[in-house]
């Protein structure tokens, strides 16, 4: 692709310090995101999958600069936003928004729906009447009643709250939206409502999404390209159909095969790869390849060298010693 990506992350890392800050004893470093590079193009949905603690949420928050990366650079539409101060970020804030996982925690319980939705508009020069009109417009856009504007979040069901969260994210007219597990707290029948709405909004308003989820079937459904993370590393990245048909990394293969299939015959026929053990402690990651402790096809070299993320053709990137050499 020749067009400039909307988001470009170049070897971005994020480390958190854990432990007491006065004594400095027992301080440990947790590398949540380790040297991750990716491009997200305008109008595209980039799906990010992985298990809890793999760094997918942190990466999402880095890309909208809720966190400042420890190293690496982040470009937004060609502009380096890696170390902008909150004040310098202000004009960009309205262009990048986020939809959160927990519809119960992401809306301030003391505010009415209209105040919640209008908060991103506070810094604009819109007058009251125009803000009110915009709130009503947004409520209708996400399929809620205009009369709901004066109610409080606790009066709504989980699915309705998530719609309020979406309306708020859309308020300032964003270009790039990070959807951080937007459906995992919702009932199955409600998940489809929200996913459909996100897709419809993208078609109408041309959004670019980063869709973070552990639900592989939804990621497969909604994404154009998908990245798989494990222990802070991007282990595989490819266009969605390529990834799901030619998955090359042993972790991706295991992850896919572990997804339950809602079809008894297909489920009985499927070959499950059941990984042994748990994800290693991110504060004491294994040497070499992060996946080697659970990898069914581990080799001696995996303990010595960290495999690089390499292009194996067609925009398909894999970080594995068994692939591409």
């Amino acid at each position: 692709m020749t067009a400039q990506p909307l988001i470009r992350a170049d070897r971005v890392s994020m480390q958190f310090t854990v432990g007491s800050s006065i004594t400095r004893a027992r301080r440990r470093v947790l590398t949540a995101v380790d040297q991750v590079s990716l491009d997200i193009h305008r109008g595209e949905t980039f799906g990010l999958v992985g298990e809890s603690g793999c760094g997918k949420t942190t990466l999402g928050r880095l890309l909208v600069r809720l966190y400042r990366p420890t190293s690496g650079t982040i470009l937004y539409d060609g502009q380096d936003i890696t170390s902008l101060t909150p004040q310098q970020m202000m004009p960009l804030r309205r262009k990048m928004q986020m939809i959160f996982q927990d519809p119960y925690a992401s809306l301030d319980p003391r505010m009415t729906v209209s105040t919640i939705i209008a908060e991103p508009l506070r810094r604009t020069d819109m007058d009251r009447a125009r803000v009110d009109a915009r709130v009503r417009e947004l409520l209708t856009l996400v399929g809620l009643d205009e009369n709901h504007a004066r109610r409080y979040p606790h009066e709504f069901s989980g699915g309705q709250r998530q719609r309020i969260g979406i309306a708020r994210a859309l308020a300032a007219g964003p270009e790039f939206i990070v959807c951080d597990e937007p459906i995992s707290a919702l009932d199955v029948s409600i998940q489809a409502q929200v996913v459909n709405m996100l897709e419809e909004l993208q078609q109408r308003l041309g959004f670019t999404y980063l869709f973070v989820s552990h639900d592989l079937s939804m990621v497969r459904h909604i994404s154009h390209r998908v990245g798989v993370m494990y222990l802070g590393h991007m282990v595989e990245m490819a266009p969605v159909d390529e990834l799901f048909t030619h998955m090359a990394h042993p972790y991706t293969q295991a992850l896919m095969s572990a997804v339950p299939i809602a079809d008894p015959d297909a489920s009985a026929a499927s070959q499950r790869i059941i990984l042994q053990g748990d994800v290693p402690n991110p504060m004491a990651p294994p040497s070499g390849c992060p996946f080697r402790t659970r990898c069914p096809v581990v080799m001696p070299v995996c303990a010595d060298q960290k495999p690089a993320l390499l292009d194996i053709g067609g925009g398909h990137w894999v970080a594995c010693h068994r692939v591409g050499t």
Partner: protein, 307 residues
């Protein structure tokens, strides 16, 4: 045999009719409206609230309608028991006890309210900043709080009173020096747990500054427990003042507070016990009422009991 339903029963329900049924039916209540609704159900708390309100009104307006001034001595009526003329009787200098208790209420309630308010402001700001900034700042600020708590407050209150003289101002300052620490701790722990909430991240994305996040989101959401703790601060401040005055280092004559009235009554306890009874009853009933209100508020504001 059951009758066969007719064909109309199997018509699909039209879309418009179904939409109408999907409205939210329950009335909309804000957090405070909801809390008030639940507080109203607590009989003891409402009784306490009524008593304190009555006491407040009487303290403000009562003396205006009384024929006696609080410092007017009627030497013809010394240590008289309760009568139609003097409802609560008179003291050893022939002053009307009812008026003096109402004046005492002014001072006691004012000290309670003002010190609670000041403590709340200091505590909320201090705790809010410590919790929000976090890290080293938080650590140092909270260690200062620990030190203040570790010092015996009575000791430095007494010392302070000796330096600044015995008057309302110095009582207030003495009370305000130490009792905000509880509020600060509560606010801090609230803010620390609330700042992890996603709506705080969301506010940051909406372009809110740190200060706005603290004022608009964190502090309003920590108010429940803070208000409960402040409600309990009022009776403890009133009690502290009464205690200091009772010891003789608080309010000075001819001013009266409930504590100093009780102090005055010691000498005549045997001959005129009512002089002790009325101020003590005023203190106790107010204590009870404020504690009932506090308990009621705690239940009404508890998020776990919502819905």
């Amino acid at each position: 045999m059951q009758a066969q339903p007719d064909a109309a029963a199997y018509e699909f329900i039209p879309e418009a009719e179904r939409k109408a049924a999907e409205q939210l039916s329950r009335p909309s209540l804000s957090y405070w409206q909801d809390a008030w609704r639940r507080l109203k159900k607590d009989k003891l708390a409402m009784l306490g609230l009524a008593f304190v309100a009555l006491m407040g009104l009487m303290a403000i307006f009562g003396p205006l309608f009384s024929p006696y001034a609080y410092d007017y001595s009627d030497f013809s009526a010394i240590s008289q028991g309760p009568s139609a003329k003097h409802w609560f009787g008179t003291d050893a200098l022939g002053r009307d006890l009812f008026v003096r208790i109402l004046y005492g209420a002014r001072i006691s309630l004012a000290i309670g309210l003002v010190s609670a308010l000041v403590n709340m402001i200091i505590g909320v700001v201090y705790g809010g900043v410590a919790g929000f900034v976090g890290g080293r700042t938080d650590n140092i600020m909270m260690r200062i709080v620990d030190i203040l708590i570790a010092l015996p407050s009575l000791l430095y209150i007494v010392i302070l009173m000796m330096f600044m003289g015995s008057n309302i101002r110095s009582i207030l300052i003495a009370l305000c020096i130490s009792s905000w620490v509880g509020t600060a701790r509560i606010t801090r722990s609230q803010v620390v747990s609330l700042k992890q909430q996603e709506y705080v991240l969301s506010a940051r994305l909406a372009g809110a500054s740190n200060w706005e996040i603290l004022i608009r989101h964190l502090l309003p959401n920590s108010m429940g427990p803070v208000i409960v703790s402040v409600t309990f601060l009022i009776p403890s401040a009133i009690f502290s003042e009464a205690f200091l005055s009772f010891l003789g280092i608080g309010i000075q004559k001819p001013m009266a507070s409930w504590g100093s009235l009780a102090n005055d009554a010691i000498e005549t306890l045997r001959s005129a016990p009512y002089q002790m009874f009325f101020p003590v009853a005023a203190i106790s009933l107010t204590m009870f009422s404020l504690n009932f209100i506090g308990d009621g508020l705690r239940d009404a504001l508890d998020p776990r009991l919502r819905k």
